[in-house]
């Protein structure tokens, strides 16, 4: 087939923190690494992470990894896999130090150590007093980490394919993943990258929802590619709504604001979180705080002329703390809410934020799926890390500060596993031309030149349907309608056409591919949500208000054909005792 080809030991798709941490591990082991990203690496969405990264360094208050593990399991509403969670929490301190050595400009304490702040869902001694576990570089921690990882990668001579969009994975008849067909956005020409292993690190799918904290690039491309390759996606019904997006706009206001001492009030000036979480108050888990805000607004205690938001108060922290610890969110509030948080509270409302579900993996980042041989058979040559993956360390609800940790821990773990895999798999497998052809067919589909629907109209309708039918509170009836609506949109997608058929930097074409990815993942999300008849973490069913561990303490697996299967939660940690499910009270 007439397509340009390149060969590398290993391919990384996505250049956020997960992809870059993995690439760094492999480049330092002298593997030939190609990193493909649809944007220049430092534009990846890790750059927007604000508050910080959890690790039990105990620089501010007593702490240890086991308490962190307890909080993460509880935060996950007992859907997190405890082997992976133990692994992550144990690795955390070492990996923060590693990042610091690599250059991350963490904020400092007077004794010169890394600054740590309080964040939601954190406790000392298994549910006791508030902990301070989140390592921060002011409120720009993601930016600091992403830039540092990029810098270390250029030092290690990682090969970057900047502004290349991944179309589809290439695989052979035995199920090995052989690389990917990608599109050079600048020239509009396809390229086949052959690799012995492929790591997907393409981030989440926040663009499913109209109001979200995510960048426009967060369209779940890697998750959708995996689904098209015949692999199911896990726990897609669990989508995190961050309690504090700027009302009506969606820009993220970090949980670090509440960690530094800020709190939420309703129209009566009441500090309402005291009613919902008497112990942790404003620093309860995100799902708990988001629901509380939604209830306040629904019951008529919202603020503003429309009564459609609550207020995040931080003036009392004083201008020094705000300027020193929260300079980025002050900028953001001034730019987008036109208020200075030193003087006035910020209007906030829950906003779509984080994809807990994704590509099912084990704690080495290997992609797994059920087969006749085993419940978790690995897909040879395929790895996934970060928000696109579901290890699952976040279960039904992610704790703030655990996503930057997740990408670094599992980026590194996958890198290490790939290095071992490469030792045993020294040669490239023969290319499977029919799989390449199938990927190229996705390009040709958009070459049709007749009249058809507008891509942006469909995207906006999808976002509205997801927001109206798959939001913070859900019921059977609403979700069933949602499934119908998304299916109707998918049917209309067939009739969508591009008006721009040029090649050079055709962003309309990229948006068309992204929309295809959003559509399949929108359906995966509502179908999985409809199937789960309980309330757990971020998935809150009014018609099934309780958690049902007997029937539902299991991961869902959604297949492209619409089937939903389940697999058990891994409740056995690596070395410590399991944390059995308990009522979740904050």
């Amino acid at each position: 087939m007439n397509i340009e080809r390149r060969k590398f030991d290993t391919l990384v798709i996505g250049a956020g923190g997960g992809g870059l941490r993995a690439a760094l591990q492999m480049a330092q082991a002298e593997a030939k690494v190609a990193v493909v990203s649809k944007v220049f690496p430092t534009r990846s969405h890790t750059v927007a992470a604000q508050g910080g990264m959890n690790a039990a360094l105990a620089n501010v208050l007593p702490d240890n990894w086991h308490w962190h593990m307890y909080d993460t399991v509880k935060g996950s509403d007992y859907l997190g896999d405890q082997d992976a969670i133990e692994y992550m929490c144990r690795a955390a301190s070492h990996l923060v130090v590693e990042l610091e050595h690599a250059g991350v400009p963490f904020s400092r304490l007077d004794n010169g150590k890394i600054y740590q702040r309080a964040f939601g869902g954190q406790s000392q001694d298994f549910g006791g007093d508030q902990a301070a576990r989140t390592c921060a570089a002011a409120d720009r921690t993601g930016h600091a980490i992403l830039h540092t990882l990029y810098q270390q990668n250029i030092r290690s001579k990682t090969h970057f394919f900047d502004e290349y969009f991944s179309i589809d994975l290439v695989k052979d008849d035995e199920g090995y993943i052989l690389g990917a067909v990608v599109l050079n956005i600048e020239t509009g020409e396809p390229l086949l990258i052959e690799a012995k292993t492929t790591l997907i690190a393409t981030g989440g799918v926040g663009q499913l929802f109209r109001t979200n904290t995510n960048a426009r690039i967060n369209t779940g491309d890697g998750i959708a590619m995996t689904l098209r390759a015949g692999i199911p996606v896990q726990d897609m019904e669990f989508f995190q709504f961050h309690p504090t997006g700027i009302a009506g706009k969606g820009m993220l206001i970090t949980e670090g604001v509440r960690g530094e001492g800020g709190y939420l009030i309703n129209k009566d000036g009441e500090r309402f979180m005291e009613r919902y979480a008497p112990h942790a108050k404003d620093l309860a888990s995100r799902d708990v705080v988001s629901r509380a805000i939604a209830i306040e607004v629904r019951e008529g205690r919202g603020c503003g002329p429309e009564g459609d938001h609550v207020l995040l108060k931080l003036e009392h922290l004083g201008s020094d703390v705000i300027k020193k610890r929260l300079p980025g969110i002050r900028d953001m509030a001034m730019t987008f809410a036109h208020i200075d948080p030193i003087k006035e509270p910020i209007p906030v409302f829950p906003t779509a934020h984080y994809t807990m579900g994704g590509i099912p993996t084990n704690r080495y980042g290997q992609v797994v799926m059920p087969t006749e041989q085993s419940a978790e058979e690995t897909i040879p040559g395929l790895y996934a890390v970060g928000e696109c993956a579901c290890v699952s360390v976040h279960g039904a609800n992610r704790l703030g500060g655990n996503s930057l940790l997740d990408i670094v821990v599992f980026g590194r773990a996958a890198g290490n596993h790939i290095i071992d895999y490469l030792k045993e798999n020294r040669t490239h497998r023969p290319m499977n031309e029919s799989s390449v052809k199938a990927a190229l067919a996705r390009l040709e589909r958009w070459d049709k030149k007749d009249e058809g629907e507008n891509i942006d109209v469909l995207r906006q309708e999808l976002q509205r349907v997801m927001e109206d039918y798959c939001s913070v509170f859900r019921t059977e009836e609403i979700l069933a309608d949602g499934v119908k609506k998304v299916k109707a949109l998918i049917a209309r997608l067939d009739n969508a056409r591009l008006r721009d058929h040029s090649k050079v930097f055709n962003t309309a074409r990229i948006e068309a591919f992204e929309l295809e990815n959003l559509m399949v993942l929108g359906l995966a999300t509502v179908e999985s949500a409809l199937a789960r008849k309980e309330s757990r973490g971020a998935h809150s069913r009014i018609d099934y208000p309780d958690r049902d561990d007997k029937h539902w303490m299991k991961h869902s697996l959604y297949f492209e054909d619409g089937r939903v299967e389940y697999k058990p939660v891994r409740t056995k940690p690596l070395s410590v005792d399991s944390f059995p499910p308990k009522p979740r009270v904050y």
Binding site: R43, H45, H101, S107, R108, R155, F336, D456, L498, F505
Partner: protein, 232 residues
Amino acid sequence: MRFLVYRYNPETDKYPHMQEYNVDGFDKGAMLLDALLRIKAEEDETLSFRHSCGEGVCGSDAMNINGRNGLSCITLLDALKEPVQIRPVPGLPVIRDLVVDMGKFYHQYRAVKPWLTVHDPEPETEYLQTPEQRDQLDGLYECILCGACSTSCPSFWWNPDKFRGPAALLQAWRFLADSRDQATAERLEDLEGAYRLFRCHSIMNCVDVCPKGLNPTKAIGNIKKMMLKHLV
């Protein structure tokens, strides 16, 4: 509102031209990026520009707005004089419409070796750094590599292959100013000569346009001072 937008598609156009669009009905507080997205969605799908986070953090959408470089996502429409003239950032080759080839800009960034270099063996814990030492990095590490500064700098326009430019030099100083870094001598030697550092003539366009409020001219001055001290 009236917009005049620079258009160039190498597949069909021999020369660039300005195209007019009229779009109205924006919410109060709408940004220029909102207008560009509306134009692309409703009027003209062929208009190409980069954008992503929409909140001034990723640095994708630097462009020349009424003669001044800025980020479209944090530029209020209300503040703009009509017709709003939008062009690609100057000084770099145009790929298409508002999309420029940032290769030279990134090359200069890589050339200052923007990574922490430590020669001593690593301790088991973090390197200690006092809050005052860490304060030295404020105003430096926040750079988002949007390129607004370097592409508004006449010295960079003339010598993009030899002059590092304000963005890269800000990063050079970010590592020189880091109490943990041990490559001071190498970094300074790398910047010697007539071009790499000394093509800066303190025109200060960089300071004027930086969407994050950073001050590359001051950083360049600090490097010059350090170099002088290093020589004597």
